[in-house]
């Protein structure tokens, strides 16, 4: 069974001098800065789930334009509000569900945030495009 190396002891068991900075202060005695590889997965989960909610909302707008069964049926959760009620509720439920799932999967990990930020940007762009009338009205069935 391998044991983790103790502080300042190399693989051969010899004790090494503690690492110091230029002023001679041992590194482990300095004011601890937040480590560069601190877990950032929960941030990635929050950002991507918001982006996904935007994209899902946009796709619901396009799909409800295309299929009357959705736009005038399944998505109508309130007669007064119409299909907007279903689009808002479904996107919000998806948002919260995806956030919880992603948070559980990557929340304690350190991930490549650049990739997650890029994915968020793409998903938000999809949402913005799909909610622009000249775009979603291209899918209108009537």
């Amino acid at each position: 069974v391998s044991r983790p190396l103790s502080r300042n002891r190399n693989e051969s068991g010899a004790v090494e001098a503690p690492e110091t900075n230029r002023s001679g202060t041992p590194a482990h005695l300095e004011t601890p800065a937040e480590p560069d590889r601190a877990p950032n997965g929960s941030l990635a989960a929050a950002l991507v789930s918001a982006g996904l909610a935007c994209a899902v909302f946009g796709l619901l707008v396009m799909v409800s334009e295309r299929f009357e069964a959705l736009g005038e049926g399944a998505l109508v959760m309130s007669e007064g509000v119409g299909a907007l009620s279903g689009k808002a509720v479904v996107a919000t439920v998806v948002y919260l569900a995806v956030w919880v799932v992603l948070h559980r999967r990557v929340g304690r990990r350190t991930v490549d945030l650049a990739g997650w930020l890029r994915a968020t940007g793409i998903l938000v762009a999809v949402g913005l495009l799909a909610t622009f009338p000249p775009v979603f009205q291209l899918f209108a069935s009537h």
Binding site: L43, A46, L47, A50, S78, V81, Y95, L117, P133
Partner: protein, 173 residues
């Protein structure tokens, strides 16, 4: 005497005004690398405020104000009290529904999702935002997109309220 519809609209507009003010505090502090403790507090309060107000504005707009806008007039009745019907009855104003209201009602719902993500990032990952310029710019970018979407929605709402014959509002706008 204020009718319920007037009250709903005033609440919705009031929330929009709060959103703008909270956004200003959030954006001014989000772009800075280092903040004083007061600045940190202003940033946190602002972005959390933006998120809360974004949800409240979208929900009141959708479930309280929008039904009054899209209500169908009874057959033979005047369209004066029914903004959507009145806009669509005139080809010269139909675009304000087909483009204006359609864009407003949909793009407004992207705002609470984005604002919530930004609020979470600022409150839970303050150190990362201060340390990593890419993260700070990414979060600020989402905040700015949320603001842009809110401005589109609010601006179109204001114009539509002027164009549509909202007689049921009793001339409050």
């Amino acid at each position: 005497m204020v009718t319920s519809m007037q009250m709903y609209l005033l609440i919705h507009i009031g929330l929009g005004v709060l959103f703008i003010h909270a956004f200003a505090g959030g954006m001014a502090t989000l772009l800075r690398e280092r903040l004083t403790p007061l600045g940190e507090r202003i940033r946190s309060v602002s972005v959390v405020g933006v998120a809360a107000v974004a949800w409240a504005t979208a929900i009141t707009g959708t479930w309280l104000v929008y039904p009054g806008y899209r209500a169908e007039p009874p057959s033979g009745a005047s369209t004066e009290d029914f903004p959507k019907a009145a806009l669509l009855a005139d080809p010269g104003t139909a675009l304000w529904h087909d483009f204006g209201m359609e864009w407003k009602e949909h793009v407004a719902w992207l705002v609470p999702f984005l604002a919530t993500a930004v609020a979470y990032a600022v409150v839970r990952h303050r150190g990362l935002i201060a340390r990593d310029v890419r993260v700070r710019r990414g979060v600020a970018g989402l905040f700015f997109v949320a603001f842009g979407a809110a401005v589109v929605a609010a601006g179109l709402g204001a114009v539509i309220n002027k164009v549509a014959p909202n007689d049921f509002l009793g001339g409050i706008l």
